[in-house]
Amino acid sequence: MEELAGRYANRAVRSVFIYTREAHPGENYRHHESLEDKRQNARAFVAHSKLRRQVLLDDLEGTAHCAYGMLPNMTWIVGRSGMIHYKSAWTSVADVEDALERVLDFQANRAKRQWVAFYSERSAWSTRDYKGFMAGLERNGPQAVADYQRMLERNKAAREAPSEDVGPRVPGNYYEPEGGTGA
């Protein structure tokens, strides 16, 4: 997303990162008990990820995060009128860029072409970087790894075999096979 933000900075796109609660707290990066905890973890994240985007902190109760749906790595695109053009449960750079191009086209040509925005939904996809994800959990600390493994075991016990036409169910995918319970 950093690279994408850089490429669109001169196309009237303001890219920001809103720092939320810790999704997978561990011994090294614990949950926040104060705003200073949150600032400290956010600074560590900026240094580690070499983030150049503006980083904005939500309050300790996560008021903004809750208002936008509370998922751990969402991306939203908001047009100049304040209208939501895109919301995604996960962040996929390719999907975000595709949406961003369409939003910029809409903003530039809406009046001239008499376009009227309407509501629509579609699915998106991304490649799962399981190895990178697990390395991140290990960086967070042993508790983060153990908590995640416990969730996997719980889901495995609850889930039926994956359907052939839709990949294994993952968080953010609402598909439930007919008669199935889902994850």
Binding site: A12, V13, R14, V16, I18, Y19, R21, E22, A23, H24, P25, H31, H32, E33, R39, N41, A42, F45, V46, Q54, V55, L56, L57, L60, E61, G62, T63, A64, H65, A67, Y68, G69, M70, L71, P72, N73, M74, T75, W76, V78, G82, M83, I84, H85, K87, A89, L100, Y119, L137, Q143, A144, Y148, M151, R154, N155, P171, G172, Y174, G182, A183
Partner: protein, 65 residues
């Protein structure tokens, strides 16, 4: 939700969060909620509406973990 409930200390991967996002969070074509946030670099309070006042806002939510 209290700050303690929001900032859980143990991840349990509730699938309900995804339903919350789909059902109760604002939809595309709605007006984006504007709430105050703190700029990490300066400490200044930024209203979210400032983000889309003159530009398209690309907003990613996340954390280190």
């Amino acid at each position: 939700m209290t700050a303690t409930e929001y900032n859980y200390s143990v991840f349990d991967g509730s699938a309900e969060e995804f339903r919350e996002f789909a059902v109760h969070a604002p939809k595309a074509t709605m007006r984006a909620p504007s709430l105050p946030l703190e700029d990490l670099a300066t400490g200044r309070i930024v209203e979210m509406s400032e983000l889309w006042r003159s530009e398209v806002a690309l907003i990613e939510f996340g954390s280190f973990t």
